[in-house]
């Protein structure tokens, strides 16, 4: 957290949003309709929204609220690790299969959220197998068994 007298987060956000509004406006203007039976077309609504967004963002830039509490460095790092884990979950979901991927990701998440490795691994195993049974047998959802496994067999 900064000790600056002026709050930064909202001003930065306002500027980013004005950029977004400009981007939306440019994109909308370039929408070409060969012919249309209606007077409005696809441009007007996004354009109007862009103008509204830009106006509201200007208020943020000139009258920003207080900065919230942002994570310090160690927290930010853990946040990135969690995001990385979720990304890995997505990437391995179909490749490694539901049960092994869930086991690994659940165990890693549980460890990150403050338990011991032993408990984390047991939680991972129980949750991965338990949810697999619940979803496939109970709810009839087909879950991936893993393309890598299939390739080996």
């Amino acid at each position: 957290m900064s000790d600056l007298a002026k709050p930064v987060a909202d001003r930065l956000l306002g500027i980013v949003l004005i950029g977004l509004a400009a981007f939306v406006a440019v994109q909308a203007i370039h929408l070409d309709v060969p012919f249309s039976y209606e007077p409005v077309g696809p441009k007007a609504f996004p354009l109007g929204l862009a103008i509204l967004l830009a106006g509201l963002s200007l208020v943020l830039v000139f009258k920003p609220g207080a900065d919230g509490h942002w994570p310090h460095r160690a927290q930010a790092l853990r946040l990135l690790v969690v995001l990385g884990l979720l990304l890995a979950y997505a990437l391995l979901f179909t490749r490694l299969g539901f049960v092994p991927t869930s086991l690994l990701v659940v165990a890693a998440l549980a460890r990150l959220f403050g338990t011991t490795w032993g408990k984390a691994l047991i939680t991972g195993a129980l949750m991965a197998v338990g949810s697999y049974v619940l979803f496939t047998a109970g709810l009839g959802i087909g879950l991936p068994t893993g393309t890598w496994l299939a390739a080996i067999l």
């Binding site: 959220f113 403050g114 087909g142 879950l143």
Partner: protein, 505 residues
């Protein structure tokens, strides 16, 4: 006039739907009691799974509505026992609920809150039954111009009433509407903001959107609280979970007034349980707090917000069912769920799909009784849910989120999109936005544009049609008044009241 209700009870009393109402109430109470998971998260996480069950629309809606009302019940547990509101609607419950628990009256406090929730919800469901068909009859006269004006009014009312920062609420709503414009334009077939990605042609999928926005951002947010111990997790002893008739009668005035207030606030678009709780508590305090006992464990101070937040939950179904305009963030999610079944709620629903409208209303009556029956004897069991550690909760949410999205799409793009939206939701929450306006904007955005364009097609491009009729002109004026008054009134009265800065259910 009440044919729909008779048909509705026929639907709701079928063994399947009765079972679903029970299941919804149970799951909702459990999810509401879980730390950090309010009604909106609960529905977001459970909705895709309900969708897989292949239930007919009315059954799915009965299940989801059960979860919604159940979560309002569950939210009070941590308010009373731990002084940590489980969701925004339960913030006011902490003020007198927790002092009661500290006095050793945790059990009676839980019992009383269950009874007040029941009374508040009953008042509101009766109101819904009486009021919704009448409003539907008026709404049949609405044309596209009136609907457009109504949505503008809804957004104005939301900006003023919801969250601490009206500008951010409005920005959130605009962002939501913008997200809704992604995909093929239904009027002309032009691709908008798809950047050549075929996955975006149909727009940002509803399930991906709500799971990302709520479940994933919640996981990221919980990480910060994982290593923080600023809450005393010491659970006070429950004692008897029983409330005497004398105690209930002592609070009957508070319950009745707050139930009525909560219903009215729930009906207003955009104002949900947290506003209802705050308004009813301050009203009751002004009316009944003769000895200065409010805030120190006065039973009426607990009964009032509990009756009001459950009443507002039922009240927010009025605009959703009759106008297709959700009264709260959670009903916006329910509305989106209905749209998955190709049902657009609106005035015609009472005549065209009476089994859905009536079935839902009838199931609210049943669910309310089920909830009271569950919550009085099982409060001790639900209270134990509070002690589930985050290291169990977070991985479970992750699994539910991934499976929920995967079973609908079976492709990785949807999952990546869910993660991106999750980060977006996390940043918004860190920046002091509530997510309810975003989801309302996203759900209503498409309808808003369609109605605007339909109105202008009728008039041949003349924007005058938007405020030609008395109804639409009235709505525009009401919207303008809402936006100007909060800014003007304090200057006139030279004093303003503090606002709640919590996410609205």
């Amino acid at each position: 006039m009440f044919d729909f209700l008779i048909e509705g009870f026929g639907v709701a009393l079928s063994p399947l739907n009765l079972g679903l109402a029970f299941l919804g109430a149970l799951l909702g109470t459990l999810f509401g009691a879980l730390p950090g998971i309010g009604p909106i998260n609960g529905i977001a996480i459970l909705m895709p799974l309900a969708y897989t069950l292949g239930l007919p629309a009315e059954s799915a809606l009965i299940l989801l509505a059960g979860i919604y009302t159940g979560a309002e019940y569950g939210g009070r547990m941590s308010s009373i026992l731990l002084n940590v509101p489980g969701d925004a609607g339960a913030v006011m419950t902490t003020l007198d609920g927790h002092p009661l628990a500290r006095k050793g009256l945790a059990g009676p406090a839980l019992g009383l809150s269950a009874v007040s929730s029941f009374v508040g919800a009953t008042i509101a469901i009766l109101g819904l039954t009486l009021f919704a068909p009448l409003l539907a009859e008026v709404a049949v006269m609405f044309g596209p111009a009136e609907f457009f004006a109504l949505m503008v009014f809804a957004f104005a009312s939301m900006s003023v009433m919801m969250g601490k920062d009206p500008v951010k609420t409005a920005i959130g709503a605009v962002l939501g509407v913008l997200i809704a414009t992604v995909g093929v334009d239904s009027g002309t077939g032009v691709m908008r903001f798809t950047f050549g990605m075929p996955e975006l042609y149909d727009g940002i999928d509803f399930v991906v959107m709500i799971i990302g926005l709520f479940a994933i951002s919640e996981i990221l947010l919980m990480l910060e609280q994982a290593h923080r111990r600023d809450v005393d997790t010491e659970m006070p002893p429950l004692g008897r979970v029983f409330v005497s008739l004398k105690e209930v009668l002592y609070c009957k005035g508070a319950m009745g007034r707050s139930g009525l207030l909560g219903f009215i606030i729930g009906v207003l678009p955009g104002t949900g349980a947290s506003v209802a709780g705050a308004v009813s508590y301050t009203t009751e305090k002004r009316l009944s707090d003769k000895d200065g006992t409010f805030g120190h464990g006065d039973m009426r101070g607990l009964a009032a917000p509990e009756a009001a937040n459950n009443a507002s939950a039922a009240g927010s179904f009025v605009p959703m069912l009759t106008l297709g305009i959700p009264g709260s963030g959670t009903t916006a999610v329910l509305l989106g769920a209905l749209m998955l079944y190709n049902i657009t709620p609106g005035p015609m629903m009472f005549t065209e799909r009476p089994e859905v409208a009536g079935g839902l209303i009838a199931s609210l009556y049943i669910g309310n009784i089920v909830l009271l029956a569950l919550n009085l004897p099982l409060a001790g069991v639900f209270a134990r849910v509070l002690t589930i550690p985050r290291w169990v909760l977070v991985p479970a949410i992750a699994i539910l989120a991934f499976v929920g999205v995967y079973q609908l799409h079976s492709d990785l793009t949807a999952i990546f999109l869910m993660l991106i939206i999750g980060v977006f939701g996390y940043l918004l929450r860190k920046l002091g936005f509530s997510l309810a306006p975003v989801i309302l904007g996203y759900v209503l955005g498409g309808l808003m544009e369609q109605n605007l364009r339909r109105a202008l097609s009728i008039s041949g491009g003349d924007v005058g049609i938007l405020w030609q009729s008395g109804i639409s002109l009235g709505l525009w004026l009401a919207a303008a008044a809402l936006l100007v008054l909060p800014w003007l009134l304090p200057k006139l009265l030279a004093g303003n009241s503090p606002r709640e800065d919590v996410e609205d259910g």
